[in-house]
Symmetry: C2
Subunit: 606 residues, 2 copies
């Protein structure tokens, strides 16, 4: 039976194969028809006399977001992942990728060919940027319009299933980025069907979605069903919920809590593990606390404070939100407390911000040195390796990959790819919209002193093509060196429960702002970083072994003194821990130190 | 030292006695001057060249909200309440009153003369409708403009202190209704001083106050300081926070939680008890849960569901929000669960509403048969006794006053005063605003089928004068009968801990929709109500004693059968409880029943 929600409609018709089928009004604004759709059927709806409308829950839009919907029978795909179970988030290494730029073809099938690279790297989860159908061929995906339809230029529904299946066969879980806070500026036909939007709240992208006003039960149904569909029909292992701070909802049972509860029910029903990860700018532990403690019950959330602390220290940038960061104290704090702003005043926000996430473990937070936003929201989409020396980037990578959080890499970060991740859209069929987006981008950056001519045009195809990873470059020395560094760090992390424990109470840090060094203790594992341009001696005891160092000759050990060269980082552990480790063959960074007492400072466990 | 917050100003001057004093910019948008104000000094501010602005924190506006501010030295008043402590909310009987209409003079001093009546009635707390200065002579007070200044026509600061002092001397606590969700449409000079308002959220009254945007720390400071001022400088015992659902705030530490925490600190500092009671339309236990469980930590909240259930059953009304209520099931539910809508679908709201307040006691909820809104938001401001028979009103009163909640009466309710409580404003100096308010009122009620000519004009002085209580009528029979009924019920409640316990787990109810009877068990106390137009027999055991009945001959007891007349209510208790009771002399409703088995139904404890 076919069903459609259109509570304010006076008539609804299904248009298919040149014929028209009347739908009958049922309860709660739903309409139904006894007509059955078959795989590959092209169809549209007519509502109140407006014909040719795509299905709000269209499973496929092969003609684009303005075109006809095409029915998909999900039972046809042959899955090979019956026994698949994802690893727990606590031991995850996430890899964020964007289907359109991850490979030169920019499709799900092309992405499959790169999975072995991720397996070798030690990735456990890929996180795929939004793939719900949006206008044009290419784009970031946050302007999705047909939220149930995998983007046709990426390969559509079948190709997405092949991709997920291939990931599972290699032991990789798939997280999907979904946008439940707004719809794209074109192709959004939802308002023709019902009150999906509300004027009671505003978001940076216009009217908010209606999660708490009249008829919001069915709007929530739409988004919950969307989440459940990806998990059930596409075997997705979890969702990354875009910008939950833009979901304004004053209900006693907020949408996000309902979503978590429904996903939990599906977990129980299917016997599979799912995770929900929020992007949140609120620094509010409510997002991830359990409902019993007044929370939404999501599994984890991103923490921008960790990124901002590291990025501004490594690059020296202080523009925009980086004005709140930039000192070693911020970095030292962020490595033991996921919210640097947990109630203190933020200059950038001009208000107090955040709340301490008391009692929550480190693996409720995703930490990253780079992500699509932190690159792409720059005027020129630069990666960190274009802004800081490779040695400093290595320090950042090591701090993230030894942190008590869930580490995440952005595509190409592991080999210090140089391609930018620019902002790009393909609104070539809608020149007015394209112009407005291009102008909006220039206006946004004019606040930072950029002239319009300095800003790459997001509507220019070149912005898209420049953003593709150039895998051919991977064979170059500096890239393979960086890749080795990441492999070592991931190998160490994956073998040492002290690093993946998430125990913030067993994590300590201290630093010298003057001498620019940082020490992080993860239980018995000691990480020493030298951000300065001169070598620094540290006292170590004779039980300490170097298990990773960012470059030779980064570290000279003389008696009980370890001399850490400028811009380098070293990981120290006891013999007992070294004995557990089996590092990649190409890595020879495990050295045994010899002692010499340090002159001026005694560095004991904090 | 004089201080003023004006973060966006480039110049600020104090204007006083024909002179001008420059203020100096300090931190966080504050300006200061070494000039000292003295009691009775009239002054204004000049900001960015605009002169004559009243102080946002003006303690007195004797010339009206557009006039000069007048400084008040709070240390001058001689208080006589040094040892005063309010009774806990659990045993409170609240009395809501509106200074302008409570007496014919409409002042704080005139209200003092009625306090002995309240003492005799058994009132423990008065709740005073908003008294922050608003435009004109009379009004409800929800369009306050000078939030720190007691309304001058009520008598100003000194008179408010005399009123509070007089209450305390009589053992009555004073709760004050404060409006922290919007400001009135005229006299609001806050935007001249700083970003007190935000465009990110909308309320029914326009832009929302800025509790979560840039500079919101100092906006919160303004409102928290306002709350603390009433409690500290005016010896107010608690605040009723108007419409907290219109305080939209997505912060990790919401304004209401901060407010509760600051009031708590003042509690500790002064060694006095304060209470915070929210008006909330959210049916969200978060409002009153402790911060440890994700709540704001307020002490109690109003529950409209209890009112709506009773009102619609007693009157038969089903318009507007009453469409969600009207059955005995709603009433029976509301008397053991403060939220009838605790997750279920509301037809009126066209969405699911509320959440079960699991684990919260009954005295976290204020229950009332009438309040200013439930009268005044009707086209003709009718009281319940104008809409239902006195016998039915008596049933309602008894159910509220035997409920597990904090009972609240509205001025005159105790003697079934007939005067309406119309909506009224005094915008006579601002004819355009007056016209717009009058038109808005007509438009609002046109949705319910009212013609403009049928709606009393809120800008007509007659609407104000008609709303004044006519105390002379109190001597009439039906009024004194109703007053006796209320006195009896309050006397019973105040003496029986079984009634004030708030233990919802010891409260049960059942009903027959067909026969229109309701039974409520409060531990060993049994309340039987007959809403039908014929008598109903109930079986009782021979340990049952009638401790109150709504009218003679409401109740005939023959053997083990109690015959309850049409539209009446009886309260039954054991001999042990009767022995504890000492009822007012004029009350002779305690009778000893004799037994007779009821034919068709056996009513045991649920």
């Amino acid at each position: 039976m076919l069903r459609l929600w259109a509570p304010l409609a006076s008539s609804v018709r299904l248009e298919i194969n040149g014929g028209v089928h009347e739908l009958t009004k049922a309860q709660h604004g739903w309409w139904s028809s006894s007509h059955h759709l078959h795989h590959g059927d092209f169809y549209t709806f007519e509502v109140n006399g407006t014909s040719g409308l795509p299905d709000p829950r269209s499973p496929w839009q092969p003609e684009g977001v303005h075109g006809r919907s095409c029915y998909v029978d999900h039972s046809r795909f042959e899955w090979n992942d019956a026994r698949w179970q994802q690893r727990p988030l606590s031991s995850a290494i996430i890899y964020e990728l964007h289907i359109g730029t991850f490979t030169s073809d920019g499709t799900f099938d092309a992405a499959i060919e790169k999975l072995d690279h991720l397996v070798n790297l030690g990735i456990t989860h890929v996180e795929v940027m939004p793939i719900a159908a949006f206008q044009g061929e290419h784009g970031w995906g946050y302007d999705g319009a047909a939220l149930f339809a995998p983007h046709h230029p990426y390969g559509g529904p079948e190709a997405l299933k092949r991709f997920v299946n291939a990931c599972h066969q290699r032991g990789i879980a798939v997280l999907l980025d979904v946008v439940y806070n707004h719809l794209g500026p074109t192709g959004n036909y939802l308002p023709k069907f019902g009150p999906y939007f509300s004027e009671r709240h505003n978001t940076p992208w216009g009217s908010a979605l209606n999660f708490d006003g009249p008829d919001s039960d069915e709007v929530r149904r739409f988004f919950c069903d969307n989440a459940l569909m990806w998990l059930r029909d596409y075997h997705i292992d979890g969702l990354r919920l875009d910008a939950v701070h833009a979901i304004i909802d004053t209900s006693a049972i907020p949408f996000l809590e309902q979503l978590a509860s429904e996903v939990d029910a599906l977990r129980a029903h299917l016997g599979r593990h799912f995770v929900l990860i929020a992007e949140s700018d609120l620094n509010d532990p409510r997002v991830i606390r359990s409902p019993e403690l007044g929370g939404y019950g999501l599994d984890a959330q991103w923490s921008d404070d960790i990124h901002h602390s590291l990025h501004s220290l490594l690059t020296g940038e202080r523009d925009g939100y980086y004005e709140d960061f930039g000192t070693l104290e911020h970095v030292a704090t962020s490595l033991r407390r996921p919210f640097v702003y947990a109630g203190r005043h933020s200059s950038h926000r001009r208000r107090s911000h955040g709340r301490p996430p008391v009692g929550l473990h480190g693996h409720r937070f995703v930490a990253y040195l780079q992500n699509h936003d932190q690159l792409g929201n720059r005027a020129h989409g630069e990666r960190l390796c274009n802004l800081a020396s490779l040695e400093r980037v290595k320090i950042g990578a090591a701090l993230i990959l030894t942190s008590p959080y869930i580490p995440m890499l952005f595509q190409g970060e592991e080999w210090a790819a140089k391609s930018p991740f620019l902002y790009f859209v393909d609104f070539s069929d809608e020149p007015d919209l394209a112009r407005s987006v291009a102008e909006g981008r220039c206006k946004e950056f004019s606040a930072f002193g950029w002239e319009p001519g300095d800003i790459p045009d997001p509507t220019d195809d070149l912005s898209f093509h420049k953003s593709k990873l150039n895998w051919a470059a991977l064979s170059e020395d500096q890239h393979s060196e960086m890749l080795r560094w990441h492999k070592s760090l991931i190998a160490i992390r994956s073998q040492l429960s002290e690093l993946t424990s998430g125990r913030l109470d067993l994590t300590a840090s201290r630093f010298s702002a003057e001498e620019q060094w940082l020490e992080v203790m993860r239980g018995p594992i000691r990480i020493l970083a030298n951000f300065s341009s001169t070598g620094i001696p540290f006292s170590i005891n004779d039980q300490s072994h170097v298990i990773a160092l960012s470059s030779n000759p980064a570290c000279r050990v003389i008696a009980n003194e370890l001399h850490l060269e400028a811009e380098s980082i070293v990981i120290l552990a006891t013999q007992q821990i070294v004995d557990q480790l089996s590092l990649p063959g190409e890595d020879e960074s495990v050295v045994k130190p010899q002692g010499l007492e340090r002159r001026s400072r005694k560095l004991d466990r904090v």
